[in-house]
Structure formats: structure tokens, C-alpha cells
């Protein structure tokens, strides 16, 4: 992501958004599982 000639801020934004999508999904589904115990 860092570097002198990166692919651009929009590519980095999409990278972090995708990471966030998966992390939020994992937390959401884990919480659902734990909440129903």
C-alpha cells in the first residue's frame, strides 16, 4: 500500500474497504453465534 509510485489512493481505499468488509462480517457473525448461546 505504501510506496513511492503506488497504484493510487482509490486503489488503497478499496483495499482497506475490502479488509473492513471481511472483518465486520466476521465480527457480526461471531457475535450472532455467541449471542444465541
Amino acid at each position: 500500500v505504501e510506496g513511492g509510485n503506488g497504484p493510487g489512493p482509490h486503489v488503497a481505499l478499496l483495499f482497506w474497504l475490502t479488509i473492513a468488509l471481511v472483518v465486520v462480517g466476521l465480527v457480526y457473525f461471531s457475535v450472532i453465534g455467541l449471542a444465541h448461546q
Partner: protein, 224 residues
């Protein structure tokens, strides 16, 4: 905006397919759930309630974990194992982690290298393995989510049959947990094995997943 769509078309297309499929899964899963409720003379639940059910959570995450495992294993095993003639493989003889020069790290890093590739120490070690680390964490995280969601689904069924609920440790020892896990793993492993060997002899003109159409079957690690 057009530039953004062009530059990120591959990721955006797959994210759109993901969201569309997830929505379809939710709608179809909700119908199936309510059909089951009818069969047990129980009340229907709303779509919103279904989206927060352990049934939906387990179904989604059991597929996620197998996909992240597939990619994590492919990333890891292709360091050491080759498939002669495949685009998915390194060239025979190049197995292993390779030298700092080949990997352009430390003093061999070019001026436009990511900073963590240049600085050395723990940061360069972490960055050198960051793809496997993230894919591995997502695999473990989604497998954990599958286990807790699957456990509550499993225990709801046991309680409705006047049986005791199982602990988490108890649940991950059940055939039910492993059936749900392995049925997803087997399909991923077959698909990767197919891709690795098919890429030796089969071509798709224009695809970077394939060699150029006229490339020799013997050539390894050349993308079209």
C-alpha cells in the same frame, strides 16, 4: 468515477457478485427456514430476524472459511511445491523463500519499494508474509464464527429434543461440525488441484490465469 471503476473493475465486479449472491442466499435461506417452521407448526420469522440467526451465520461462515483456507494453503504450498507446466506454479528449481535480492528486500529494495520491505527486522518479516498472515487470520476468524454459530444452531435443535446443550469444545468434536467443515474443504481442494493441472494443457485466450494459447505445455510460470 469512471477512472475508479476502470482501475478496480476486477475487485468491484467480484464484490458486486458477492453482495448479490449474499442477498439471494438470505432470501432463499429465509424461505427454507420458514418452510421448516411450517413443518414443525412453529411461527414464521421475519427476514430481519433470519439475518441475525445462527442458521444464516453458520451457512455463510462455513463457506467463507473454506475459501480463505483454500487461498492461504495455495499461497503457502506454492512456496515449496511446483507443478511443472502450470501457470499456478513457480519454475522448478525456484522452490523456497528465495534470496533477499530476488525478493527485493532490505538493501535490495528499489526506491519505490513499500517502506516495510526496505526497513528490515520484524517489520520486513511481517510484510514478507503479510498476504499469508491476513488470509490465515480470515480463515481462522471465519472458522471460529462458523463454530460458534453452528454450535448455537446445533444446541437449539438439541434443546428442542429435550437433550443437553453442548459446550464449544464439545461441539467442535461432533460429526456435525466436521461434516459442515469438510464438505466445504473437499470442493476447494478439488478445484485447486484441477486448476493447477488443467493450466498445463488448457488455455483461455486473453486470461492471465492461462498461458498464451501457443505457449508450450512444458513452460511453467508464464502468464498470458
Amino acid at each position: 468515477v469512471r477512472r475508479f471503476l476502470y482501475d478496480n473493475g476486477l475487485t468491484l465486479a467480484f464484490l458486486a457478485l458477492f453482495l448479490g449472491s449474499l442477498a439471494g442466499h438470505a432470501i432463499a435461506g429465509h424461505e427454507v427456514f420458514n418452510d421448516e417452521q411450517d413443518r414443525h407448526h412453529a411461527e414464521h420469522i421475519s427476514l430481519g430476524r433470519y439475518l441475525t440467526s445462527s442458521d444464516f451465520a453458520a451457512a455463510v461462515t462455513e463457506n467463507w472459511q473454506s475459501e480463505y483456507l483454500q487461498f492461504a494453503l495455495l499461497i503457502f504450498l506454492t512456496i515449496w511445491l511446483v507443478q511443472r507446466g502450470s501457470t499456478e506454479s513457480k519454475k522448478p528449481g525456484e522452490e523456497g523463500l528465495e534470496s533477499p535480492k530476488e525478493q527485493k528486500i532490505g538493501e535490495h529494495a528499489p526506491p519505490d519499494a513499500p517502506r516495510w520491505a526496505r526497513v528490515g527486522g520484524v517489520r520486513t518479516f511481517l510484510y514478507s508474509n503479510s498476504l499469508l498472515i491476513v488470509m490465515g487470520l480470515f480463515w481462522v476468524g471465519s472458522w471460529f464464527a462458523q463454530s460458534v454459530a453452528g454450535m448455537s444452531e446445533f444446541n437449539e435443535d438439541r434443546l428442542s429434543h429435550q437433550e443437553d446443550a453442548l459446550s464449544w469444545i464439545g461441539y467442535i468434536g461432533t460429526a456435525s461440525f466436521w461434516e459442515r467443515t469438510l464438505q466445504n474443504w473437499q470442493s476447494e481442494f478439488l478445484a485447486v488441484a484441477s486448476m493447477a493441472i488443467f493450466a498445463v494443457y488448457l488455455r483461455q485466450r486473453g486470461s492471465p490465469e492461462s498461458k498464451p494459447v501457443g505457449e508450450s505445455h512444458a513452460t511453467t510460470a508464464v502468464e498470458g
